[in-house]
């Protein structure tokens, strides 16, 4: 299962993100006459598309097909051929109590990480927007600092919970909480969520901030004259106008929590997965590469693929419908 975070990085502004979804959906029905380019040779456009198609094929379709195929086989752990077992890998996985509890944890983990990283990112963006409105230099500096932060922030977050030098562990100890990340299930879960959220906040902050800056000033001013409560203005005017950005980030953050948190989990559980919380994607890795159960691992990744597929359809069908694109 490969995920390409660079997809979002090429859409730096939320308006283009909103436009991305809209164009994606309406492209066949309304070709954009102004942007239509004429090629001399009919092969040329395919040539331009080829590198991207190759990447998608090699890193997405090919592994997917492989995964689906091998999920129906039982692989010999020592590499001596494989046996067709039909749905056995799937039924084994779905009947396993361990797998179901990991799935439950993954759901909670994804929901919490998505919610808190969106909420905190939004809160910070709203506060920053109030201060830097109209101050271009300050804005650039702030965004710049946040833009280089994510990998550094992730590293810092981990160090915060380090058993020996982590300040958060010391603070917890001061309050009588003997925090043992990597040993205690709940402590590890807590640290995993905090670091995952912490790492994603800068990204959300930038998108929310530029979304907020994109809301026309006169519309805010009109709201100022129509509504005295700032909180109410936020809920009734600002947030609805921010919805395209928020929806875009919702999808990105769900995917992030499901897949991109792999690194955080890996560092936290330090290969001692037994007593520690892990997510489904980490379980795929554990079973496939540590346990050498390629068939079961493939079945899990196919299940994961289906979950993401259903989730994305759900988000587009039921949430995007309420989003107003300007």
């Amino acid at each position: 299962m490969t995920h390409a975070p660079s997809l979002s990085a090429t859409n730096p502004t939320p308006t283009s993100a909103g436009g991305f979804f809209r164009r994606f959906r309406s492209a066949p029905s309304e070709p954009d006459a102004a942007k239509r380019v004429q090629f001399n040779s009919p092969l040329l456009p395919y040539l331009f598309l080829a590198p991207q198609m190759a990447i998608i094929f090699i890193f997405f379709y090919w592994p997917s097909v492989q995964a689906i195929q091998s999920s129906f086989y039982l692989e010999d752990p020592f590499g001596f051929g494989s046996t067709f077992v039909g749905m056995a890998n799937y039924t084994d996985v779905l009947k396993s109590g361990e797998y179901l509890s990991i799935a439950r944890f993954t759901a909670v983990f994804t929901a919490l990480v998505t919610f808190f990283s969106l909420a905190i990112g939004l809160l910070l963006a709203v506060k920053a927007d109030g201060i830097i409105r109209g101050n271009a230099t300050y804005k650039t500096l702030l965004i710049w600092v946040y833009a280089i932060a994510p990998p550094v922030a992730g590293l810092m977050g981990m160090m915060m919970f380090d058993q020996h030098i982590g300040p958060l562990v010391k603070v917890a100890a001061f309050f009588g909480w003997n925090m043992q990340v990597g040993l205690n299930y709940n402590d590890t879960a807590f640290a995993m969520i905090v670091v995952s959220v912490w790492k994603q906040i800068p990204y959300n902050f930038i998108f929310f901030l530029s979304g907020l800056q994109g809301i026309p000033v006169p519309v805010r001013e009109a709201a100022l004259m129509d509504c005295r409560s700032g909180l109410r203005r936020f809920w009734t005017v600002i947030l609805p106008l921010l919805a395209p950005t928020a929806f875009f980030l919702l999808i990105i953050n769900t995917t992030y929590a499901l897949f991109d948190t792999f690194g955080v989990i890996d560092v936290m559980v330090k290969d001692k997965a037994a007593n520690n919380p892990i997510t489904l994607v980490y379980k795929v890795y554990m079973d496939g590469f540590r346990g050498n159960d390629l068939g079961g691992s493939s079945a899990q990744s196919v299940i994961l693929m289906i979950i993401v597929f259903v989730l994305t359809i759900f988000q587009f069908r039921f949430i995007e419908r309420r989003v107003h694109y300007n």
Binding site: P218, E221, A222, L224, M225, D226, C227, R228
Partner: protein, 372 residues
Amino acid sequence: MAAINITNVSKIYAGGVEAVKSVSIDIADGEFIVLVGPSGCGKSTLLRMVAGLEAISKGTVEIGDRVINDIEPAERDIAMVFQNYALYPHMTVYNNLAYGLKNRGTPKAEIDARVAEAARMLEIEQYLSRKPRALSGGQRQRVAMGRAIVRKPAAFLFDEPLSNLDAKLRVSMRGEIKQLQKRLGTTSLYVTHDQLEAMTLADRLVVLNGGQIEQIGRPLDVYHTPASTFVASFIGSPAMNLLRGTREGTQLHFGSQVLDLGRAPAFPGQITVGMRAEDLRVATSGDQSLTMKVDYIEELGAQRLVHGTVDGKKLTASLSPEIDIGETMALTIAPERLHFFDADTGKRFGQPFANTGYDRLSAPAIKLEAAL
């Protein structure tokens, strides 16, 4: 409905720019005041201070009996119409109108009634369930007006509400705003840089220049007795002709050309003389005259604007299309139609003669429409 009293109001922006300099205007209940002036003269700044969107640096603004300097915009009992409409893009037209009322806890039935009434007045009933993006510019403008009307505020504030519309629509919307304001009787403060819009809408004009008031007055008073060369050249189209001249005895000298006034006005030698284009006419034999070298002609249909020079200085005359135009023309003007300004300060010299030929008090307002 309420009077608005603006007293010694100044605006100093961060960085020390003084955009509005000690402005005082007393606006009567129900009056339609138009702030007019060139770009950057501080019109919007002044309006936004009244609206509460900019802090007031100095002075006070009262609406009714309340000083509103420190009152929240939503509590000032005013409604504003913005240049680019500023409708809420995610709300239907109905909700755009109802939003301000809902936030004030108006009962649902009352909101329905008020929205229906405003929509009927503005003929936007069939768009109530649409989003703003599905409306034309003119329709959006009506919705923006509706949003102000439903609130039944003490005052309307307009910041160049028509400048995004095409010329024809602008003229018809102008008429509607005027009618609506008269019908509702709501005190209004209206900002524009278009002097024609200002003349047609205003009960009284406030001409601003560089953050200061040049003149306050009824449109015709301002037109016929501009307080300065700035006002003279800003109000009226074509702009008033302004010529440097010298008075010697009863005579005005423009270079080698001379006009005899018949009597000596009470001001010194170097002056600026103002002449409205429509006050100039072709001299018949016996009239004293100025000789204009004709450069080019603008045909307006009903009149014809003849541009040329007198003694090397630009002059424009508005003449009947029946008159033949030559290379040079002899033009004359009645002495009481001349305006005199201080050559240095540009300030108007008070009534130079006893009778100006224009009775400012009895002049009926209807004449304005005819003149324009």
